[in-house]
Amino acid sequence: MTELALDKRTLPDRSTVVGWLQNYGVYLGLAVLLLFNVFFTDHFVSGENFRTQAVQVSPVLIVALGMALAIGTEGIDLSVGAVMALATSITSLYLGYGPWLALVAALVGGAVIGLAGGSLIAFVGVQPIVATLALMVGGRGIALVLLPQLKDVRDPAMATLGSGSVAGVPYLALIAATLALIVGFVVRRTTFGRRLLAIGDSRPAAQLAGLPVHRVLITVYVCSGVLAAVAGFLATARLQASDPSSLGNLMELSAITAVVVGGTPLTGGRVRIGGTVAGAVLIQLLTATLIKHDLPSSWTQIAQAVVIVLAVYAARERGKR
């Protein structure tokens, strides 16, 4: 860990094949998987299938965007699954007042959890993994207190949002893509983005340089909470139901996987949003491929485990370079 911390600022050597692979391996993997499916999977190349995949990947991707920010600061956010559950509970409770109010209320719920996590991390100095773990346990509890059991959502606007599309592209995928562009812009082009990466590089150095470390950290976790809440709201619209006991279960793992597979190092200081998008799609496509070839879901989990370890192993080599 310490050796990584010393060298992690070094960018990978782009001139070698290995360096290239480590940087763009996720895109290569995605291309290989796509080609495999085009040739060997029946009914793969169809608008309907692409739409299904895009809709399924959207919530994971949105959560992964927030996770990428947290990981960029050398943190982690385990509370995202619980925030999705909280968002779906709040959505159900407030839907009677109209979908917009329900959305706002859900976002506020996510922001509050993010604020709590960010404050614990920034002001109290609790490790991110512990702070967000406590919120993960408590957050799902709150979601279940608010809405003890599954509830159907009957709202025409929500139905349109969940299953509608414009020019063949599902709303969910459009929203996810837009959010990815925004987060990518924020990371690359704004002061906030630069500060976030500086904190991930070295928090003491950022502090010495006079950066508003606390404010940036809190903003990052609030962003992660709000994005997870958006994902929870959209998932509610897609499923036409609120199920706080199962929605978002293990979502933190999928999101971390997408971020890590996409080439963002867990040691902070670098965030790759394009890679995160590709990582999320890769995991989704891997799952879909295994299912379409009649491999049981147990294999999906084992395959996912192998992909995680390989991706992090590659990232480690990159970090050491």
Binding site: E74, V124, V130, V137
Partner: protein
């Protein structure tokens, strides 16, 4: 994940001279950190026995003890891992896998029912340890992957969770889970023995010293000649082994390998260890504290069940809030001790 590790115990050694008020504060902080959970447990138990007639009955306490024993066994292994500066997220899945393997193996006799889960689960721990120690991958990620892999393996064995293997209730294996000795369930006795052994192992053996040293400051431990990699491999193997054993005992107790229990158990185990005064940054921790942490979580759960009108969801809220409180207090105490 801080890259430089602060070691509160080490800072305590350079504290001011005896009699200095700063040092007394230091000692109070140390006491609070070590025994805060025990005090909370005593108070909670006292309040619960005064408030509910049904709390301090033999049956109820027996139930708390039994349901604590499985989590406690898992938390014991987790304590070693966390003291060494790591974390093991795979224990929940390994627990379930151990239970399923034990229930399946019980048809071939008690030896198979016990050995199969122990060997397989220790092997998963071994792989975790090797990956962590030899490749330098973050423990968090390695054990996250093995959590998925162990669950995948469990699903593969049980035909995607459709098969439930039953334990013959008359078998010797079942009596390991359901038997009683002096009115106390066998799993409780087994757990008690494991904890005594674990405490001795961590406090009084060279291996235990190495676990503390590796968690306190890995570089320093390596410079002093401690076998860092071997120590890490050992703690993860131990954690896998204990999680598998807990799963097997649970299967014997329930007379079946239940495929849906145990998820999220890693979080309960981590919570118990942290509540018990073990620092997540490694290098400082107590086996006894983890036991107190488990009991505290289970008593909270029991009390919430006793208040019949409260939904079990509140248990998660209370556990989460409690965890936040403990972690904030611990961070504050650790910082205070550094300053002192």
């Amino acid at each position: 994940m801080p890259s430089t590790k602060e070691h509160p115990a080490a800072a305590g050694r350079t504290a001011p001279a005896p009699g200095d008020p700063a040092r007394r504060g230091d000692r109070v902080a140390a006491l609070a950190q070590r025994h805060g959970a025990l005090a909370a447990l005593v108070v909670l138990a006292a309040v619960a026995s005064l408030s509910f007639d049904s709390f301090a009955t033999g049956d109820n306490l027996g139930n708390i003890a039994i349901s604590s024993s499985f989590l406690a066994t898992v938390a014991l292994g987790m304590t070693f891992v966390i003291v060494s500066g790591g974390i093991d997220l795979s224990v929940g899945s390994v627990f379930v896998l151990g239970g399923v393997l034990a229930a399946w193996g019980s048809q071939y006799g008690t030896v198979v029912a016990l050995l199969l889960p122990l060997v397989v689960c220790a092997a998963i721990g071994l792989v975790n340890g090797l990956l962590v120690a030899r490749t330098g991958l973050a423990p968090f990620i390695v054990t996250l992957a093995s959590m998925l892999a162990a669950r995948g393996l469990m699903l593969a064995i049980t035909d995607e969770g459709a098969d439930t293997f039953l334990v013959n209730p008359d078998s010797v294996f079942a009596s390991l889970g359901q038997g009683k000795l002096l009115g106390i369930g066998t799993p409780v006795w087994i757990t008690a023995v494991l904890f005594v052994g674990g405490a001795v192992l961590l406090r009084s053996t060279r291996f235990g010293q190495r676990v503390y040293a590796v968690g306190g400051n890995e570089q320093a431990a390596a410079l002093m000649g401690a076998p860092v990699a071997r120590t890490k491999v050992s703690v993860y193997t131990l954690s896998g082994l204990l999680a598998g054993l807990a799963g097997a005992l649970n299967a014997a107790y329930l007379a079946s390998g239940v495929t849906i229990l145990g998820y999220g158990m890693e979080l309960d185990a981590i919570a118990a260890v942290v509540i018990g005064g073990t620092l997540l940054t490694g290098g400082l921790g107590y086996v006894s504290g983890s036991l107190v942490g488990v009991l505290l979580l289970k008593v909270i759960q029991n009390v919430i069940n006793q208040i019949g009108s409260l939904d079990s969801a509140y248990q998660q809220v209370v556990s989460g809030a409690f965890l936040v409180l403990v972690v904030v207090a611990q961070t504050w105490l650790a910082r205070r001790r550094r300053v002192g």
